[in-house]
Symmetry: D2
Subunit: 163 residues, 4 copies
Amino acid sequence: MNATARTAPPMRADQAGLFSAPVRVRFSQCDPAGIVYFPRWFDLLNGVVEDWFTEALRLDYQGFHQTRGIGLGYGHAESDFFSPGFWNDRVDVFVRVARVGGASLDLALTGFRGEAPVIAARLVIVTTSLAERRALPLPGDLRAEAERYRDAQSLQTASGDTP
Amino acid sequence: MNATARTAPPMRADQAGLFSAPVRVRFSQCDPAGIVYFPRWFDLLNGVVEDWFTEALRLDYQGFHQTRGIGLGYGHAESDFFSPGFWNDRVDVFVRVARVGGASLDLALTGFRGEAPVIAARLVIVTTSLAERRALPLPGDLRAEAERYRDAQSLQTASGDTP
Amino acid sequence: MNATARTAPPMRADQAGLFSAPVRVRFSQCDPAGIVYFPRWFDLLNGVVEDWFTEALRLDYQGFHQTRGIGLGYGHAESDFFSPGFWNDRVDVFVRVARVGGASLDLALTGFRGEAPVIAARLVIVTTSLAERRALPLPGDLRAEAERYRDAQSLQTASGDTP
Amino acid sequence: MNATARTAPPMRADQAGLFSAPVRVRFSQCDPAGIVYFPRWFDLLNGVVEDWFTEALRLDYQGFHQTRGIGLGYGHAESDFFSPGFWNDRVDVFVRVARVGGASLDLALTGFRGEAPVIAARLVIVTTSLAERRALPLPGDLRAEAERYRDAQSLQTASGDTP
């Protein structure tokens, strides 16, 4: 039990119906204590967000940056760490839309080794103009797809469906 | 302004009397958008915490891990990002003790480019037995030094002293 | 063409029959110039070596470190870079055993984007006692499997087989 | 002794008169074996090269990339590793110009913990147009400064001066 956590440990059963991606812990992500060095959790989570855009929202994450000049950086990032990550662990990371804002997208991510909670994170994407370095309203396609995903996840939770 | 931040932007004047360390942004910490990739902020902050142990608390950070078998990992980490970090930026990071717990140490860190706020972070250290992978009460020397630092910072704030 | 390369650009056809693993370039591996930052190529190659141990040699890479106390670090590493790696590139990396030494294993790795050569690297593993920090003769199982792999790759090359 | 090294271990006395920068090994650069993970050596060396441009050549490294559109990436990188790097080690890294080419700059770097050799590396910079992704002749200021540095280092070696 992590008494310093800001949130209760998540339960895997509550993630039913959400997009998930497996993360494999590499040697190079572990520190001299033999566990994942905590900044690398955030790096791994960013990779899951990239995959979520592509596979769940069917949007071109790379195109936002490189074609449309829209940054998808973070205005806030946080995580509780319930259990260390070890070399060669497989951690399944689930993505929930917590809030679709005017110029932001608030994601709640949870990670599990089997049924055991490992991390519970919040990543708040803020859409920005890369050229002008200022906030941009959420583009229409991103808003529409994020809302669609959010509404679908609510139905899942309401009905207790499992994928 | 970062509308998604959980905290108000910090003011540099309010950090008077706190330990600070300069962080220089390297090419390798920047991403294709030309700014510090957010997990690397957490890595840079961890370096500041190492220095704070050594220089402000006069404790042997490395010795905790390698001689005493005490892990100083994090149970919680979070940051608001008020402004991007650019290559060759110098960011001054200040360390405040927010709370000395039974088996944890809650640090508030703020970073400024000149007077401009860049980040405001919380890092909660949990002391653990590296051999047994379980929580340990805060060791006596760490508790004593952290409380001494916390009490000194309160005096600074109360009197409005600047270093 | 890379006029500073120490080796001729490799040809994909010459890698027939070798173990290969696909590497996907992540956002976080790219630098402000938009291409893979070169130290991260070495990190990616190390991941391929981990996979080669497990999948091609059928040896427990992690067990060498964590159970047997045998380090598999590198005494020498080098690479020619023929072409930049870009975000979301898929690069296929092939592993050839260049030499099985008394206390070392010399690997030649090549990477291709489609047919185009991207990198040609040499990584020389030296087996060491992690407790005593000194060289160890190549363990019998590693020697046997590396020689078996080397002999099989020679047959492939001699006969011109493609997988 | 590293029997797999391609070069003889360097001697610190032979680096007299060369630019050097101290590198401090951070917790986050060490792996589960407790030593510097080898790709991070290359990252540390790149930081030394940045400093060498600024402090020894008096050239604006960042300006090449961001103002002039000239890439200073590597066409070849290699290193012998003579001794592991440990957490909190101070390693002094020396920079020698091995060759000034038409569109490349070949640097020989050596690192020492006290008198003990740790690494001996070669990094070959190739100057490129970032917009067109093709090789560029060495810019005049870089050629002039690199040749000046190279000629000064030869005098040092010839006369046996120490700084």
